[in-house]
C-alpha cells in the first residue's frame, strides 16, 4: 500500500513538472475544443484547389506566406483549420493576419495557439506585438494570470483531480493501515497543497474559457441583438471580451471595462467554442 501511495504522489509531482507540460503541450487532449472553423475574417477563397489534407494546406500556406501572398496564405490556413488544428497552424495563421494588418485576427489566432501550447514563447511575443499594434493599453497580467498560463486548462484539470485523489487517499489510508511516522503526513500535506494550487490554476485559467476577440476596429457594442439597436460604445480590434450568450448573429459580451452589450458575430470571434 505504501508503494501505491508513493506511486500516486510521484505521478502527481511528475505531472506538475514544467518540462512535462512543455513536452506534452501540443499532444492530444491537453486543451478544450476550439471554435472549429474560424470565422476567417476577410479570408478569401484560395486561388486553386484546396488540399484535402490539413498538412498539405498547412504547407501550401507556408509557401504562400513566403511569397508574401498573405491573402492566399490566410485562405489556406483557414481551410486547414476547418479540418484540424494544431498550435503551429494557429501561430502561423496569426502571423499571416498580422502581416495583412488584421491585428484582431492575429490576436485571436495567437490566443488559440497559446490555448494549445500555453507557454510557446513565439506566440507570447507575437501576441504582445499584435496588441501593441492595435494601440490598445493592455494591463500587465497578474501573478495569478501568469500562473494560470503555465499549463493548459485540461492539464490543470487533470493535475487537480489527481492531486485531489492523492490527498484523499493519504488523508485516510495511513490511519487505517497504521503507517506511522511523519512521511505519510508530509505526503498528505504535499498532495493537498498541490491539489489546492492546481485547483486555483484551473479556476484562473477557466476565467478565460469564454473569452473572445474583437476582429474589427470601432465595433459597436449594441443594447440588443438587432440591427437597429442603439450602440452604447465601441470596442477596438484585438480587444478581448467575455462571451456570455449568442443570439441571431450576435454575441452578448462583457467588455474589459465592464460594459455589457451585443456585438455582431462578423466582428467578434470566441477563442473557445
Amino acid at each position: 500500500m505504501k508503494k501505491i501511495a508513493a506511486s500516486i504522489i510521484c505521478f502527481a509531482l511528475a505531472a506538475t513538472h514544467p518540462l512535462r507540460a512543455q513536452l506534452s503541450a501540443p499532444a492530444a487532449g491537453t486543451f478544450p475544443s476550439l471554435t472549429a472553423p474560424a470565422p476567417a475574417p476577410a479570408a478569401k477563397a484560395p486561388a486553386g484547389p484546396i488540399p484535402a489534407d490539413p498538412a498539405q494546406a498547412f504547407a501550401a500556406g507556408l509557401a504562400a506566406y513566403e511569397k508574401n501572398d498573405f491573402d492566399q496564405a490566410r485562405a489556406l490556413f483557414s481551410a486547414a483549420e476547418g479540418k484540424a488544428i494544431s498550435a503551429p497552424l494557429e501561430y502561423n495563421f496569426g502571423n499571416t493576419c498580422f502581416q495583412a494588418a488584421d491585428y484582431g485576427g492575429a490576436v485571436l489566432h495567437y490566443l488559440r495557439s497559446l490555448t494549445l501550447d500555453p507557454r510557446d514563447p513565439d506566440s507570447l511575443q507575437n501576441l504582445a506585438l499584435a496588441r501593441r499594434s492595435t494601440n490598445l493599453v493592455i494591463a500587465d497580467p497578474t501573478r495569478l494570470e501568469n500562473f494560470a498560463g503555465l499549463l493548459s486548462l485540461n492539464t490543470w484539470a487533470g493535475l487537480a483531480t489527481l492531486a485531489g485523489w492523492a490527498a484523499l487517499y493519504l488523508a485516510f489510508l495511513p490511519g487505517l493501515y497504521r503507517w506511522r511516522g511523519i512521511v505519510p503526513k508530509l505526503l498528505c500535506a504535499t498532495a493537498a497543497i498541490i491539489a489546492l494550487s492546481t485547483g486555483i490554476g484551473y479556476w484562473a485559467a477557466h476565467q478565460h474559457v469564454h473569452d473572445g476577440v474583437v476582429l474589427h476596429a470601432d465595433t459597436a457594442v449594441q443594447l440588443s441583438p438587432t440591427a437597429n439597436s442603439p450602440a452604447i460604445g465601441l470596442v477596438q480590434s484585438g480587444e478581448v471580451a467575455q462571451t456570455l450568450d449568442e443570439h441571431g448573429g450576435y454575441f452578448k459580451v462583457r467588455t474589459a471595462d465592464g460594459r455589457l452589450g451585443w456585438v455582431e458575430a462578423a466582428n467578434f470571434s470566441p477563442v473557445w467554442n
Binding site: M1, A27, A28, G29, F31, P32, S33, L34, A36, P54, A55, F58, A59, L62, Y65, K83, A84, I85, S86, A87, P88, L89, Y91, N92, N95, F98, Q99, D122, Q125, N126, L129, N135, V137, I138, A139, D140, L153, N154, A157, T161, W165, L168, Y169, F172, L173, L176, Y177, V209, D218, A220, Q222, L223, N228, S229, P230, A231, I232, G233, L234, N273
Partner: protein, 611 residues
C-alpha cells in the same frame, strides 16, 4: 364602440344644450351631413396624420354612434372629440367633430372606407378618405390640437435638435440641445422612451431636468423646454439623425367659433381638457461624420477629441529612491470626449518601472463634456542615474483646428538615491505598455513543423462524461481499500465477530457436505457432518470450540438462547439418530436421509438467522 368614450364631449354638448334652451332657439328641418378627411394627406412612415370626421345636424342632436372601420397597417394612436352648437338667424345646428391620430409603419396608400353613423335615428354615410404614406419623412411636424394657430413652421408642437456644428469626427463628443416647443394652450409631458433612428451614434440620453422658458413665435409666446445632451458618432460618412419623443399632450380643445361653449370653457377649462398621445419626430439632423485624419496622428494617440490642457506632473517629492514606488499625478482639464480619453503614455525607457494608471473623472456638467480627468501612475525608479522625471506625452485632436495637438510636459529635475545594500531591484528590459522603438520586438517567423494535428477538436475535460466516468476507478478503489481494511481490523480486534463469521462459514460448509453425503446415501458421514453443522450454527456467539460440546451442553445453550422446543426437538432427533447409527445399528434408508437433510437445512438456517 369608439364613440362611446367621449363623455367629455357629451358634457359640453349638454351644457350647450342648456344654453340653447335658455336662448329659446328653434330647430329647423335641414338634413344631417357627414364629412371626413386626413390632415395632412401625405406623411412619412411612422409619422402621424389626423383623420377628422365631422357630423353636422340641424337643431338639437344626440351624440352620433358608429364604428370606425379597421384599416390594415394603419394604427390609431390617439383620439379626441368635440362639438359645437351654432345659432344663426335663430336656427340652431350641432357639429360633432371626432379626431383620430393615425400612423402607418409601412409606405403605401391607405383608404379609410366609407362607413355609417347613426344620429337621432338617422343613418349617415361618412365618405371614404385616402392617406398616402411615403418612405421618406415629410417633415418633423406633428399636429396637436389641429385647430387654431400653428408655429412659424406650421406646427403646434415641435422638436428640434441643435448641435454647435454639423461636422463631427468619429468618437467626438458634441453637445446637443434638444428643444421642445409648444403652443401655450398645450400641456405636453413625456410618455415613453426617447429614441433615435440611427445606430451610427451612441444613444442620446435626456439627462436631468430641462430648462423651461417662453419663446416668441409669430407674435405669440410659446412654451419651450431644452435638454442639454451630447452626441457621439461611431461611424463616418454623411448621416441623418432623427429623434422620436413620445408625448401625452393635454389640449383644451376649445370650440373657438362657439361663444357659448367658449364661455363655458373659459370658466372651467381644465375640466374639458383632452389628452392625445403623440410620437413627435424631430427635424432631421444632417451631420457630416469625418474620420480622424491619419496625417499627423501620434503613435501614442490618447483618443481625446476636443480642447484639453494638461497640468504639470506632480510628485509627492522630488527626492526618490531606487526601488521605492511613487505616484505621478497628472490632470487633464477641458472639454471633449473624456470617456474615450486614455492615459497619456510615459516616455520611460528602461530605467523606470510603471504600472497601469488609475483614472478618475470629475464632470463639470450633466453630460460629462466639461470636466477634469486625473491619471495616477505608480512609477518606480530603477537606477540612481535618473535625473529627470519622465515626460508625459499628452496629445489630442482639436476638431476646430482639425489637427492633432501635442502637449508633452517639461522634464522635471529629480534626485534618486541608490537603494540600500541588498535591496536593489533588477531593471526590466521593457515595459509592457510603454512603446519604445529601440526595444520594440519584431515578429517571430513561422513555425515550419505543423505539430500534432487534433481532429476533431478535443473537449474540455470537465465537460466530458468520460472524465467523470473515469473518476469511478479511484473512487471504487478507495472504497474497496477502506472496507477491506476495516473488516480486517475488526476481525483482528473483535473475536466474537470473527467467531460468528467463521461459524457461519463452517456451518454452511458442513451443511453442503451433509447434503452431499445424504444424496450419496452415506448415512454415517451425513449424521457426523450434520451434528457439526448444528454445533457451528448454534454456537456462533460462543468463543469455545463447538465440536467439544456434549449434547446436554448443546441443548442447554439452545434453551438459553431462546430456541423453540420444536427446534430443540429436531436438533435432538438428528443428534440421537447419529448416536443410534454409531452405537445401535440404526440403518436409515435413502428417504430418511433426504428428509433429515431437508430438516437439517431448515434448522441450520433458523439457527443462523436467530443469531
Amino acid at each position: 364602440m369608439i364613440f362611446r368614450h367621449f363623455q367629455l364631449s357629451f358634457l359640453r354638448f349638454a351644457a350647450g344644450l342648456a344654453l340653447c334652451v335658455l336662448a329659446g332657439a328653434t330647430a329647423s328641418a335641414q338634413d344631417a351631413t357627414a364629412t371626413s378627411g386626413f390632415n395632412p394627406t401625405e406623411v412619412g412612415v411612422e409619422e402621424v396624420s389626423q383623420y377628422d370626421v365631422t357630423v353636422s345636424e340641424s337643431g338639437f342632436s344626440a351624440t352620433p354612434k358608429g364604428d370606425l372601420p379597421k384599416v390594415d397597417g394603419l394604427d390609431v394612436v390617439g383620439t379626441s372629440s368635440g362639438n359645437s352648437i351654432k345659432i344663426v338667424n335663430g336656427a340652431m345646428s350641432t357639429d360633432f367633430s371626432f379626431k383620430f391620430s393615425v400612423r402607418a409603419l409601412k409606405p403605401g396608400q391607405y383608404t379609410m372606407p366609407a362607413f355609417t353613423v347613426t344620429v337621432n335615428g338617422k343613418t349617415l354615410t361618412v365618405p371614404a378618405a385616402t392617406l398616402k404614406v411615403t418612405d421618406q419623412p415629410t417633415q418633423a411636424k406633428v399636429s396637436a390640437g389641429g385647430r387654431g394657430s400653428t408655429t412659424a413652421s406650421g406646427n403646434s408642437i415641435s422638436l428640434t435638435a441643435k448641435p454647435p456644428r454639423t461636422d463631427i469626427y468619429v468618437g467626438e463628443k458634441l453637445p446637443l440641445d434638444l428643444t421642445l416647443t409648444w403652443k401655450p394652450e398645450l400641456q405636453p409631458q413625456l410618455a415613453g422612451e426617447f429614441t433615435q433612428d440611427n445606430d451610427s451614434f451612441e444613444r442620446v440620453e435626456l439627462t436631468g431636468k430641462p430648462s423651461q422658458y417662453d419663446v416668441p413665435v409669430n407674435g405669440q409666446r410659446y412654451g419651450a423646454a431644452t435638454w442639454h445632451s451630447a452626441l457621439t458618432s461611431i461611424k463616418s460618412g454623411p448621416q441623418t439623425l432623427r429623434f422620436t419623443m413620445p408625448l401625452l399632450v393635454s389640449t383644451p380643445d376649445q370650440t373657438g367659433s362657439d361663444p357659448m361653449t367658449a364661455i363655458l370653457m373659459g370658466s372651467i377649462p381644465n375640466m374639458f381638457a383632452q389628452q392625445q398621445s403623440l410620437s413627435l419626430v424631430s427635424t432631421p439632423l444632417d451631420l457630416n461624420v469625418l474620420p480622424l485624419p491619419d496625417e499627423g496622428r501620434p503613435g501614442n494617440f490618447t483618443g481625446g477629441i476636443g480642447s484639453f490642457s494638461i497640468t504639470p506632473p506632480s510628485l509627492p517629492s522630488t527626492n526618490l529612491q531606487v526601488g521605492v514606488p511613487v505616484t505621478l499625478k497628472i490632470t487633464v482639464n477641458g472639454q471633449g470626449n473624456f470617456d474615450r480619453l486614455q492615459a497619456p503614455s510615459l516616455d520611460l525607457g528602461t530605467l523606470w518601472r510603471t504600472y497601469t494608471p488609475k483614472e478618475n473623472f470629475t464632470a463639470q456638467d450633466a453630460i460629462g463634456y466639461h470636466g477634469q480627468k486625473t491619471f495616477e501612475y505608480v512609477i518606480m525608479p530603477m537606477s540612481d542615474s535618473i535625473t529627470t522625471l519622465p515626460v508625459v506625452q499628452f496629445n489630442y485632436f482639436d476638431p476646430d483646428k482639425k489637427t492633432y495637438v501635442e502637449q508633452p510636459t517639461q522634464p522635471i529635475p529629480i534626485t534618486v538615491k541608490p537603494a540600500p545594500p541588498g535591496q536593489a531591484p533588477v531593471p526590466l528590459p521593457a515595459i509592457a505598455n510603454t512603446p519604445s522603438e529601440s526595444a520594440k520586438p519584431e515578429l517571430v517567423g513561422l513555425h515550419l513543423d505543423p505539430g500534432t494535428w487534433q481532429t476533431p477538436p478535443p473537449r474540455l475535460w470537465l465537460a466530458s462524461p468520460y472524465f467523470w466516468g473515469a473518476q469511478a476507478v479511484p473512487a471504487v478503489l478507495f472504497a474497496t481499500l477502506v472496507i477491506t481494511r476495516r473488516r480486517q481490523l475488526r476481525l483482528e480486534n473483535d473475536p466474537l465477530y470473527a467467531r460468528r463469521l467463521r461459524a457461519r462459514s463452517q456451518a454452511q460448509s458442513a451443511l453442503a457436505r451433509a447434503r452431499s453425503a445424504a444424496a450419496q446415501g452415506h448415512a454415517a458421514e451425513f449424521y457426523s457432518v450434520a451434528q457439526r453443522a448444528l454445533q457451528e450454527a448454534a454456537t456462533q456467539d460462543r468463543l469455545d470450540a463447538p465440536e467439544a460440546l456434549t449434547w446436554q451442553e448443546f441443548d442447554a445453550h439452545l434453551a438459553k438462547s431462546g430456541a423453540s422446543s420444536d427446534v430443540r426437538q429436531q436438533a435432538r432427533e438428528i443428534f440421537e439418530a447419529g448416536d443410534a447409527l454409531r452405537f445401535g445399528g440404526f440403518t436409515p434408508d435413502q428417504a430418511d436421509l433426504n428428509a433429515a437433510a431437508t430438516r437439517l437445512a431448515t434448522l441450520v438456517k433458523e439457527l443462523l438467522d436467530r443469531a
